[in-house]
């Protein structure tokens, strides 16, 4: 009785929570796999990054980026744990996003009426790449410093409108004050990630309401139990990485302080930026690299329209084979820039980049059109 009164008091003034409870009506299909809970895991990881990022921002000093991170790890209570949450959180978040995108492509989930959800996921990925690179630059390690210096100096040296944007973003070549502005951009764009996740949540709920499940179940307790279990396993993998392999997929040389006179021998980015970094490295000019990265994301966004088969069409054998090749291709892209000792990796990067665009721009329309018949 009293809770009903409270509810209506709140619902009449703030209508959103009432809608939310309505969503737990039995509209969900029974038997969805654990991987369908990836968006929830991504949101959870993003919130953990936001919370740990808030604590790090309290202590981070952009004038002495590397030293202040050392200070956090050594002199702040539980500072090393918070920093671990943030660093491993980035790895786990990107792993979940890569897995989500790949699963969507494999399942052709981007076809109507799922285009908007797919576009929001590509947007999320694009934003995360930017936020992730900014966070990497803020680490101010020996490798990140040179990544930032190269990017800032190249972007500010551009002519025309691109140069205007570059100078606006970096405020001139890398120097005093660059990290301070990147810290603000990192935080603000992280909030944009949260906004995108919110829009994505609305869009997936709208999609779920359209679906007519054969065996409808309510989200509680069925899906809360599944989400909880998914979170437990996610946290287990998280803990194994964070406590026992905290630098997995990261360049070990970045654990040293930056030196403006010494360029580290291996300038490989963190694993989650590696495929994009590889595509950027194929082009010899700054504008070319920017174009490459934008094109890489644009073909993903265009996927609903590149796929020529009907939305309900089945995945054929060739399509599934191509998906395996795409997976290898993206792994190869990342690998080819993390091992510069390998002399053929430069030409491999070019090959993998060509295959990536060939896959989306030629093979996908061709194979889906053929298999739709």
């Amino acid at each position: 009785m009293s809770t009903d009164v409270k509810k209506s008091w709140l619902a009449s003034r703030l209508p959103c929570p009432a809608k939310e409870t309505g969503n737990c009506a039995p509209t969900l299909e029974r038997g969805a796999p654990y991987l369908a809970r990836l968006p929830a895991l991504i949101t959870g990881a993003a919130l953990l990054l936001l919370a740990s990022g808030f604590v790090l921002a309290v202590y981070y000093n952009p004038d002495h980026g590397f030293a202040s991170i050392q200070f956090i790890a050594r002199n702040v209570n539980s500072g090393w744990l918070i920093q671990g949450f943030h660093a491993t959180g980035a790895t786990m978040l990107f792993a979940a996003v890569y897995l989500l995108l790949f699963r969507d492509i494999y399942r052709r989930a981007y076809t109507a009426p799922g285009e908007l959800v797919w576009l929001l996921r590509v947007k999320l990925f694009a934003l995360l790449l930017l936020v992730g690179w900014l966070g990497y630059a803020l680490s101010d390690g020996a490798v990140a410093y040179w990544s930032l210096t190269d990017a800032a100096n190249a972007a500010t040296g551009l002519g025309g409108a691109a140069g205007v944007v570059g100078r606006w973003f970096f405020g001139g070549p890398n120097g005093a004050g660059t990290l301070a502005r990147l810290e603000v951009f990192h935080a603000v764009l992280a909030l944009a990630v949260l906004g995108t996740l919110g829009a994505h949540r609305c869009a997936t709920r709208a999609l779920a309401r359209q679906a007519k499940p054969k065996h409808p179940v309510s989200c509680h307790p069925y899906y809360t139990a599944q989400t909880f279990a998914a979170f437990a396993v996610f946290a287990l993998i998280f803990a194994v990485l964070m406590f026992f392999a905290p630098h997995y997929g990261l360049n070990p040389l970045n654990r040293a302080a930056a030196d403006s006179l010494i360029i580290p021998a291996v300038l490989s980015p963190p694993w989650y930026l590696a495929p994009v970094s590889a595509v950027a490295s194929v082009f010899s000019t700054t504008l070319g690299s920017i174009f490459g990265v934008i094109a890489m994301l644009a073909v993903l966004a265009a996927l609903p329209w590149l796929d020529r088969s009907s939305p309900a069409g089945k995945r054929g054998l060739v399509y599934r084979l191509l998906m395996g090749l795409l997976l290898l291709d993206v792994i190869g892209l990342g690998w080819s820039v993390s091992d510069p000792a390998c002399t053929i990796s430069g030409s491999l990067t070019v090959f993998f980049t060509i295959w990536y665009f060939f896959h989306f721009l030629v093979l996908t329309p061709l194979v889906t059109a053929l298999e739709a018949k």
């Binding site: 953990l48 919370a51 740990s52 604590v55 309290v58 202590y59 200070f71 050594r74 002199n75 702040v76 209570n77 539980s78 500072g79 744990l81 918070i82 949450f85 307790p221 909880f228 437990a232 946290a235």
Partner: protein, 184 residues
């Protein structure tokens, strides 16, 4: 749970599920608490901040009738060692005649009566007091003098004249041994 009880096949299964469910939820709460704690812990003072908040000052080297200035919590702290004459003089003052009555014992730490530790800011119009450096004028009561409004203080930091009506503030500190005082 109540909503699904009609689906339960038997009483035993139901209670076993209940136990498992309670265990899962409770364990999850423990885990969430363990994750949240570092965030609360991390926002407490860091090691440098904690050290600065509990500044330790060596006072053994201060000669009689002279003072040092240290900065603690963003405030100028004046530490003066009194002479026997100053102690006798300030003890002799009838407390009730003062603007802001305070006894000798309320201005010093028992056992360390020759040390006066005060915040060196005038209590009227705020500015740093003169009288700590050897060359400074100390005013008619041999204490401190405000260059802004002319308020005068005695060696215990009690206001003795001028527009100010409050004695100098005594910061939080304690003697950890004969030679060192610790703030905070």
């Amino acid at each position: 749970m109540a909503g699904t009880s009609e689906h339960a096949m038997e009483h035993g299964g139901e209670s076993r599920r209940d136990f498992l469910k309670i265990l899962t939820v409770a364990s999850g709460a423990v885990g969430a608490g363990a994750v949240i704690w570092p965030f609360i812990d991390a926002l407490g003072p860091d090691a440098d901040g904690a050290a600065a908040a509990h500044l330790i000052v060596n006072v053994a080297g201060i000669p009689e009738n002279s003072a040092i200035t240290v900065t603690w919590a963003g405030l100028p702290i004046y530490i003066r060692k009194l002479t026997a004459q100053q102690i006798a003089d300030t003890k002799a003052v009838v407390t009730s005649t003062l603007v802001d009555p305070a006894s000798f014992n309320s201005r010093v730490k028992p056992g360390y009566e020759s040390f006066v530790v005060v915040v060196g800011l005038n209590t009227g119009s705020p500015c740093a007091l003169e009288g700590n450096a050897p060359a400074d004028p100390r005013g008619p009561f041999d204490g401190w003098l405000s260059p802004c409004d002319g308020s005068v203080y005695d060696p215990l930091g009690r206001v003795r004249g001028g527009p100010s009506t409050k004695n100098l503030v005594i910061p939080r500190f304690k003697f950890i041994n004969d030679a060192q005082i610790q703030f905070g």
